[in-house]
Amino acid sequence: MGLDAAPYEMMAIAIARDLQNGKRVIVGADTQIPHAAVMLAQNLHAPDLKVIYGANCFWGNTRGRNPDLYVSSGAYQMIRSAESRFDHPEIFHRLWAIDHFFAGGIEVDKFGNVNILGIPDGAGGWKFRAAGPVGLPDIAVNVREPYIFSKRHDRRVLVDRVALNSCPGFLDGPGGRERLGLWGKGPRWIITPKCIFDFHPESKRARLHRLLPGVTVQEVIEATGFEIELPERVEVLPGPAEEELQLLRSIDKDGNLRVRPK
């Protein structure tokens, strides 16, 4: 192929490839990578991907419309591709019919739990306070298979156990979700600028699924704060097809996804 995609571009392409036609997804706040991914998928193989712009309360479809990648997920310009407005509280209607959401946070652990609340100081206060849980605790226990994504891959983000759980994954492992009667299968992937984890069907622990082009297993192990489930053979994600990268860059006109991860 000979084409080089930046890591964030590759993340968007990997998610786009995984999104099947006809699925229903919600794109939330501060999520340029997933937003690019759904637009890419709609314009390639998934014209019937049904997308809620969560921060804007529109059902939108960008198919064949030369979309822009808006810097803000609340960008008013999204009405350009909107087909329906709704009251935001209605986003919680039919979450059981939503296939995917994209969750990020300050910590992600081996069972796919996410912390977006902050780090407590151990004395009833806060060492660091993040923006807050938004709707992630709601979505995580209702939607079929959320994706977890992180724009950074290091031992501060990928931890053994989240300090606070504000987006339940597989909780404390096998049977955790079932014990509480949560809906949905639990997280599908953790995707980072280095790799994709899926979850071992029995242990429910993060398992190295695909490396992003140019990344080694050793590099992932060193940058990850939890013990990784390693399959016998780890495949590398195929690089971008020309059409994929061309279309992605026609969406990401300002090169937001070409910046280097921190």
């Binding site: 009251d87 935001h88 849980p133 605790p137």
Partner: protein, 304 residues
């Protein structure tokens, strides 16, 4: 006897908001915020509010916190999104223990507002189960439902005294219309005892009667005509957000958070305490910039 005109001045409307009230503010992130009322509340020195923020609160909520108006915040998120991932004044107030956060999820916030709208003591939702939210907020109780025995969270009614909502247009009887997203505004208005509506444009009752399907808020308590009333935020259907002023805010608030409050004080002086009224505020921003913000929207679809 004629129908009562409910239009009021910014000053008269904001005077309805008293210390210690529970106040809900509408819009979401970068759009549709009732800014003239928020600025007037700060000018009035309102204190000890329980603030019910949008499900994704933006820097409008952060500003009210920074100005010292808020004692308790009910909001699952305060962020500057693409400009800064958290509200600087919010982060500071929480980390210093100066403000109580009534921890909640988006879904539970809406269920709490819906409980108030429906006149119920509580509503249940699955959101929160399996997370640490019920541990952080003891008023949200996990319970087994009386029919199937499933584990759910019970959230008490969240009942604002006043809801502050921004719409693009309204008549003088309080019939308001959103020309873009409605966000959580309608549920906030339904839950509150009193609704203060800011509108970019006051239109005749005939305009409303020709388009009753677009009316999103019926019979607000008072209406305030405020052209560019959501500035520096976008007003869906009419104008985009003013990124320059928002960056100015983020810089000031972040500098305050990291120990230097001067810039923030200057920001308040410049945009809030300085201008004599909303028209003086618009002059400060300047006609050319407002025209450009409006132009950024003019090729987009409209309401009806």
């Amino acid at each position: 006897m004629e129908r009562a005109n409910v239009t009021r001045s910014v000053e008269d409307a904001a005077a309805l908001i008293k210390d210690g009230m529970t106040v809900a503010t509408g819009g979401l992130l970068f759009a549709n915020h009732p800014m003239p009322i928020i600025r007037q509340m700060i000018r009035n020195g309102v204190r000890n509010l329980t603030l019910v923020g949008p499900a994704s609160s933006g820097l409008d909520v952060d500003l009210l916190i920074g100005a010292g108006c808020v004692t308790t915040l009910i909001s699952p998120y305060v962020s500057g999104e693409s400009l800064i991932g958290y509200g600087p004044c919010y982060r500071q107030a929480v980390e210093r223990g100066e403000m109580k956060v009534w921890e909640v999820t988006e879904g539970l916030e809406y269920m709490g507002l819906r409980a108030a709208a429906l006149g119920l003591p509580f509503l249940p939702y699955r959101g929160g189960v399996g997370s640490d939210i019920p541990k952080l907020n003891p008023e949200i109780k996990e319970f087994r439902d009386p029919i199937k025995g499933e584990l759910l969270c019970a959230v008490p009614a969240i009942k604002p005294d006043v809801a502050l909502i921004h719409v693009q247009r309204s008549d003088c009887y309080g019939n308001g219309q959103h020309l873009g997203s409605t966000y959580g505004d309608r549920l906030m208005a339904h839950a509150a005892d009193c609704v203060i509506l800011t509108c970019d444009k006051l239109v005749s009752n005939e305009v409303i009667r020709r388009t009753p399907l677009l009316t999103t808020i019926a019979y607000a308590t008072v209406v305030v005509e405020t052209a560019f009333g959501s500035h520096p935020y976008a007003s869906h259907g009419l104008y985009g957000e003013d990124t320059e002023v928002l960056r100015e805010y983020v810089e000031a608030a972040e500098s305050r958070r990291t120990g230097n409050p001067d810039k923030f004080a200057r920001f308040l002086d410049k945009y809030i305490h300085g201008p004599a009224d909303h028209f003086a505020y618009l002059d400060l921003v300047g006609a050319a910039r407002l025209v450009r913000l409006a132009a950024s929207y003019d090729d987009l679809v409209q309401g009806g």
